[in-house]
Amino acid sequence: MKKLNLTRNTVILAVVLLLIVLYPLLGAKPYHLHLFILFFIWAMVASSWNLLNGISGINSLGNIGFMAIGGYGSAILAKTFGLSTLITIPLGGIIAMVLVTLFLGLPTLRLKGVYIALLTLIFADTLPTLLTQTRAVTGGAVGLHEIPPFFAGAGKIHNYYICLAAFLVMLYVIHRLIKSNTGLAFVALRDSENLATSLGVSRFRERLKVFAISALLSGLAGGFYVHSLGDISPTTLAIEPFLMGIAMMELGGIGTLFGPVLGAAIIVFGSEFLRLADVLRMTILGGLICVTILFFPGGLMQAFRKLGNLMDRRGKRKRGESVQAKVQSAD
């Protein structure tokens, strides 16, 4: 039954992936490509964020800040020094990793969860002030514009494939990471600190490691963000992107591999469909987070899993009541 389930999921995944790969070739509008690019980038951010909050139980609220550092880093290197994006994006990621690990990871990771949550939030919150104070380099409140594209003459379609590839690679890396010994140590630490410590897992070192990796990945996502969109400003660090990231993780299913991706898809495409006034949109986002946490703590992934199990059971029995009745009884 388990194997059957896996195959079905693999088939669905392959079909979805194929459609996404072929989509630009089927004559998609540039605006729709733009949306997909946003989705890929957000999926990267949410997935790397989920590595902290979902997988290893470190309550970070600062990943948008990590992303901004990577984005600014890469943009400045490409714009002022004229370096190739092949170099600047990784460098941006590394800058984010180093800064975040030094100034945030080292002092906070020994502290209790609430402290980490608040200090990461304060960190991300202080960045806009810092940016406006360093106008010569970062462009201040206006931000940076006309950031060089991935390569000279790169268009939407190129950006689409570059970001898609980056997203897939990152997801694969995260997948491997979760399955590796390091990943198992993260999960062990999240689930039972005492047990993991007694097995010889150094809590602080493992936490620092995952923190650095998450910052690196978020920073890289920032690099892809600036070179495909062409500009970045302190508004990237406003409360809305922050909320969107949280909502993606929670809505999709925190702690799962595909949950944040799913959440990113829903939030990115959803907010395009619901072109509402700012105030209303934020109210809905806040409400969405509350409702998800209260009533669907596992997010959509858990709902899907339940549905999948249900269908398996039904297929096995062959005969039975309607699915409708079971969906209701499962709730």
Binding site: I122, D125, I239, I246, E250, G286, C290, I293
Partner: protein, 288 residues
């Protein structure tokens, strides 16, 4: 000399306002171990309600408070009863309560924004005029604020010391199994705690709104300030919050005097990090 004295006075005034603002945060954390991420917005809501009753309905300030405080109490109780209570029983309660209060805070902020608009609001000063103390001038309003805060803190400490419910809250804060063994209904106490803390927070919001300007978004600023104060003094400790608020209030006014207002936040942050390294439990906090 004069400017130093002035800084001292203004540090004391803002310190006492920060103290009452941080109390609500430390009360909830100390008793239920839930960190109220919506704390600032709760204060803002209190401020807006007081503003509405005071300036719109033209009620006297005290009467405005009488209308506002029960509303805040009810809100706190509802939040606990219908959201936090369930979340506290589930795994990962630490972070799910943080996110829930965060989401609720954003929602409240935008609802307030929708109703009251983005323009700055201020509760008018309670008393006008000022007095001279030697060379320095103190506004009567600021004196009144300090007296009110002092009275508020005295009332609260007496509540926790003398009343049956206050004692039960302290008991729950110190040992939940112990509280269970002596027959305290812990969930009910949590409910009262949220009500009380929201009430105190709303009250502090009304006071803050009479000294500083108020927009819905300022709540996040207040929350972060409240957190630094509470963690500085010792999470969950009432004297800690008061001491932390006074120390940081002084630091604020002297930093403004010496370096300029832009530097207040970096100075606070550095003081905070240094303290975390030396005394992670905070200035007053005894045990972990």
């Amino acid at each position: 000399m004069e400017s130093i004295l002035n800084a001292l006075v203004s540090g004391f005034v803002s310190g006492s306002l920060y103290a009452i603002m941080a109390l609500g945060l430390t009360i909830i954390y100390g008793i239920s171990r839930v960190f109220n991420f919506g704390h600032g917005i709760v204060a803002v809501l209190g401020g807006y309600l007081a503003w509405t009753f005071f300036t719109r309905a033209s009620l006297p300030f005290v009467v405005s408070l009488l209308f506002m405080l029960p509303v805040m109490y009810l809100l706190g109780w509802l939040v606990y009863r219908y959201a936090i209570r369930g979340l506290m029983k589930k795994p990962n309660a630490d972070f799910s309560t943080v996110l829930f209060m965060l989401g609720l805070g954003i929602m409240l902020e935008n609802i307030i924004l929708q109703i009251f608009g983005p323009r700055v609001k201020a509760v008018p000063e309670l008393v006008t005029g000022s007095i001279m103390l030697g060379a320095i001038k103190i506004k009567n309003h600021e004196l009144a604020l300090m007296v009110i805060v002092l009275l508020g803190i005295i009332v609260l400490t007496q509540f926790f010391k003398r009343t049956r419910m206050g004692q039960a809250m302290r008991a729950v804060a110190q040992s939940i199994p112990g509280a269970g063994v002596v027959g305290i209904n812990i969930e009910r106490i949590f409910g009262y705690t949220f009500g009380l803390a929201f009430m105190v927070t709303g009250f502090s919001g009304a006071l803050l709104a009479s000294k500083y300007f108020m927009i819905p978004h300022i709540g996040w600023d207040w929350m972060v300030k409240g957190f630094v104060i509470v963690a500085f003094g010792g999470m969950g400790s009432i004297p800690g919050a008061v001491v932390g608020a006074l120390v940081l209030g002084m630091a604020e006014s002297f930093t403004t005097l010496a370096l300029g207002a832009v530097w207040v936040w970096p100075v606070w942050f550095i003081m905070f990090l240094v303290l975390l390294l030396l005394r992670p439990q905070g200035l007053v906090g005894g045990r972990n």
